[in-house]
Symmetry: C2
Subunit: 244 residues, 2 copies
């Protein structure tokens, strides 16, 4: 039996790939966090939809694997790409307990890329993705990555920049970046990528330090070459682009 872990892309159904849609079409039951199930509820109201709360991911994985082991065609949906802070990993970690189930992963557009398209082209050169959530990662590890990324002049995307109980994490992250990056570094953020209420803002790293963002926001920090061109955030493809 096959269980397919499907990325929906960052927004609503428009960001779904054809491969992802085919996987959902072929499924009998679709399992996911309530918010993601809601994104596909209208299109797949004829399927069994199993929505679960944000926590309890291990239980969600087990339930999906058990249904697949029992012979159902199961799809587990994630926003963005299931291989980036998503469900692909937990499912593959638990899969050996269900040897009759083959887990397949169908990639989706991850939020970093979806939001980048809204801002312009901030990730045209080497870039890294860092989550500011310290639920499963020591904050010291996060700070070490921020410092390394800043020193090596990566473009940086911050996932989970804020949430209840840690509203100052973005400011703390910016302080780490500001140790080696100029306060004028071009930054941006996008909220509700690809969904109703999508909004974005370009600002400097110094301004980002004091910005208020929520959990539904992706934050972008440019490299030393990133510029604002006609209101878009653009990172050149290289350090000698102009010389071509």
């Amino acid at each position: 039996m096959t269980l397919t872990c499907v990325g929906l892309g960052p927004g609503g159904s428009d960001d779904l790939t054809l491969r992802a849609r085919a996987a959902l079409d072929a499924s009998e039951v679709i399992v996911g966090y309530t918010t993601y199930i809601d994104l596909i509820r209208d299109a797949y109201s004829h399927k069994e939809l199993v929505a679960t709360g944000m926590r309890g991911e291990v239980e969600r994985c087990r339930m999906a694997l058990e249904r697949a082991a029992a012979g159902q065609q199961v799809a587990v949906v994630c926003s963005g790409d299931p291989g980036v802070y998503g469900m692909a990993g937990p499912l593959l970690e638990l899969a050996p307990e269900y040897p009759q189930v083959e887990v397949k992963v169908v990639a989706g557009v991850t939020a970093a890329n979806g939001g980048a398209a809204v801002l312009g082209a901030p990730l045209m050169h080497d870039w890294c993705s860092i989550s500011l959530s310290d639920l499963m990662t020591p904050w010291e590890t996060i700070e070490r990555r921020l410092a390394a990324a800043a020193e090596a002049d990566f473009c940086i995307v911050l996932y989970n920049p804020s949430s209840r109980g840690r509203s100052d994490y973005l400011a703390r992250a910016c302080d780490v970046l500001l140790a080696t990056r100029d306060a004028a570094t071009v930054c941006g953020y996008v909220r509700n990528i690809g969904r109703a209420g999508e909004e974005f803002r370009l600002l400097s790293l110094g301004e980002l330090r004091n910005a208020q963002v929520d959990m539904l926001t992706c934050v972008y920090v440019g490299n030393s070459q990133t510029r604002v061109i006609d209101g878009r955030m653009v990172t050149p493809r290289g350090y000698q682009w102009k010389a071509q």
Copy 2:
């Protein structure tokens, strides 16, 4: 007038998002590198298709912008995501010379995420994307990023790991990584992601040092927690996952 820069995803037409397909459907002329035009030739044979060679990207952008300025509905296609080592940046850099043209970017699944789905879930935690092409970036900058990424325990995806004239770049990159990463670090690579002839291999960083890969390959280096589980490359979501 609008010029839309569209990501095709890593493979063939299956990896296209619905948003990307709608943009292609709405276009009159589709411009792109020959290999990418070939991926959509059958589906869009009724459109004007303009295929150009790999080099001459500035000329390709100008030609597309000029056609848009002249009133045509133009789509510029890239493999993967146009915002990652693609055409979105060059187009936005040149766009101010064509003030009547609005450039829109439609994200696609980037090769890093498409290949990750083939391998399992190697990018479940913080990760970075590094191109080994030194055509527009000094090799010293690339080495600095490799060293920083290794030291901060990022998962790493290498784009452009090899080409004619620089067949030893992957070995040189591995040497930089091996300065701080264990030779047993779980690695993998995927060739022809999502296309005919797709193939992958899991191997250690020490083995990767001596592997031969080509330009159509994406290379993955795990972090210190990455494991092989039932033949898949899996990075845990956190450092305390097991403790949950």
